[in-house]
């Protein structure tokens, strides 16, 4: 092996942190003065690198670091504790506002408005038409022998401040999803903020038309229609 080859191996050995030389290398250094001088210089260089890196990272830690940090943590903790109830309240308001706006939108559409003359039995909680949420709100909630219904409406069985909390009417099968939505809202500030504001007008976005389901359809002859 040439001196160049030995020097490369020497550098690699020092870079890997090897503490001893192999027999072949040690033999070459005994016979080659130039390589021995190079080796000593490299040992010195790697030693200086290690010392330099250690000086770089082992700076004395200022006492103010932990003191300042503890103060900031306490401050942060206090802010956090005060912040959570505010968001809780905001989330409830946002959720109620969404449902109210949605219900109002449905109510204002004449073709989807339910016929007010149609009466709904007060003794039952099952409602034939799911669309008119506003109509559903008028239905008196009473105790029912139906166990499914009792499970689905805890408000009627509990008296703990029931009248002070905002109430929302949702489809029974969507209740759990709504619960999850309300629970997750405080953690998703961007969603809560977005829901509390009107959506910007986006003329280019496509409109999705929901399927219209017609339960009862009565076809009358035009001749029989009275003229106004």
């Amino acid at each position: 092996m040439s001196c160049e080859g030995y020097r490369d191996k020497l550098v690699e050995g020092l870079a890997s942190g090897a503490s001893s030389l192999d027999g072949d290398m040690a033999g070459h250094l005994r016979t080659c003065v130039e390589c021995k001088r190079f080796y000593e210089a490299q040992v010195h260089l790697f030693g200086a690198i290690d010392a330099g890196v250690q000086a770089m990272v082992n700076e004395a830690v200022p006492v103010s670091l932990l003191l300042g940090m503890r103060a900031r943590l306490d401050e942060q903790g206090a802010t956090r504790r005060a912040w959570i109830p505010a968001w809780t309240f905001g989330a409830v308001i946002a959720a109620v506002a969404i449902v109210a706006v949605g219900g109002g939108y449905v109510w204002l559409q004449p073709e989807r408005r339910p016929d007010s003359s149609r009466s709904v039995p007060a003794a039952t909680k099952r409602i034939a038409n799911p669309a008119p949420l506003a109509q559903a709100a008028e239905i008196p909630v009473t105790s029912s022998p139906n166990p499914k219904h009792r499970r689905a409406s805890p408000v009627t069985t509990s008296s703990l401040g029931a009248e002070t909390m905002p109430e929302v009417i949702v489809l029974a099968e969507e209740r759990q999803a709504f619960d999850r939505f309300v629970s997750a809202l405080p953690r998703q500030s961007n969603v809560a903020v977005a829901l509390a504001h009107a959506a910007p007008a986006a003329p280019d976005t496509g409109v999705e038309i929901a399927l219209l389901e017609i339960g009862d359809l009565e076809v009358k002859s035009l001749e029989a229609t009275p003229r106004n």
Partner: protein, 188 residues
């Protein structure tokens, strides 16, 4: 036939308040780790910035960021490695912004010429060697630089660095080897 039910969203949130009780527990747990991890965070930041006040500031910011996200860290045993990465990343960001500001302020000045000629012995003995070493460190790829810094901190073995960064011991050694070789090339 579909059923409508009347529910109270506020009640859902009342149930959640039990979960909020975890916060003080996490707070205590974090404070317990602070004594050990605070100095580590400072040293990593100082290794990048080499300015005590800046390093302290970055370490505090990183610790605060770690605190805010502490509850999301599922494996608490990985806290040190997680914190080290946060500190290192924030220190690099700070270092880059400092460099940009310095560059703006020194626009138009002559670039600094490197001294040529002195032997390795002379360089090692001088403070100029430290300056050149710092520059050489800055030019290292980030993942190699982080390993060199952590391996240089007193009290941390290569096994601990491996565990801290969540990488195999062989990877730590090979990164250290590559980094030391590169540094020697630049300083020779």
């Amino acid at each position: 036939m579909r059923e409508l039910v009347l529910i109270q969203p506020a009640r859902v949130l009342v149930g959640r308040s039990e979960r909020e009780e975890e916060s003080p527990r996490s707070h205590r747990e974090f404070e317990e780790r602070l004594a050990e991890c605070g100095p580590l965070a400072f040293r990593v930041a100082y290794g990048v910035l080499r300015h005590s006040a800046d390093a302290e500031d970055v370490a505090q910011e990183a610790l605060l960021k770690a605190y805010r996200n502490f509850e999301r860290l599922r494996d608490r045993a990985r806290f040190r490695g997680w914190l080290v990465r946060i500190v290192f990343r924030m220190a690099l960001d700070r270092w880059r912004s400092v460099k940009r500001r310095e560059k703006r302020e020194t626009t138009g000045e002559q670039p600094e010429h490197r001294a040529t000629g002195p032997s390795v012995e002379d360089l090692a003995a001088s403070s100029e060697f430290q300056t050149r070493l710092e520059r050489a460190m800055e030019e290292l790829p980030e993942k190699f630089r982080l390993v060199v810094l952590l391996a240089g901190i007193q009290g941390y073995t290569l096994e601990e660095v491996s565990g801290m960064l969540g990488i195999p011991m062989g990877t730590v050694k090979s990164r250290l080897f590559f980094a030391r070789k590169k540094l020697a090339e630049k300083l020779r």
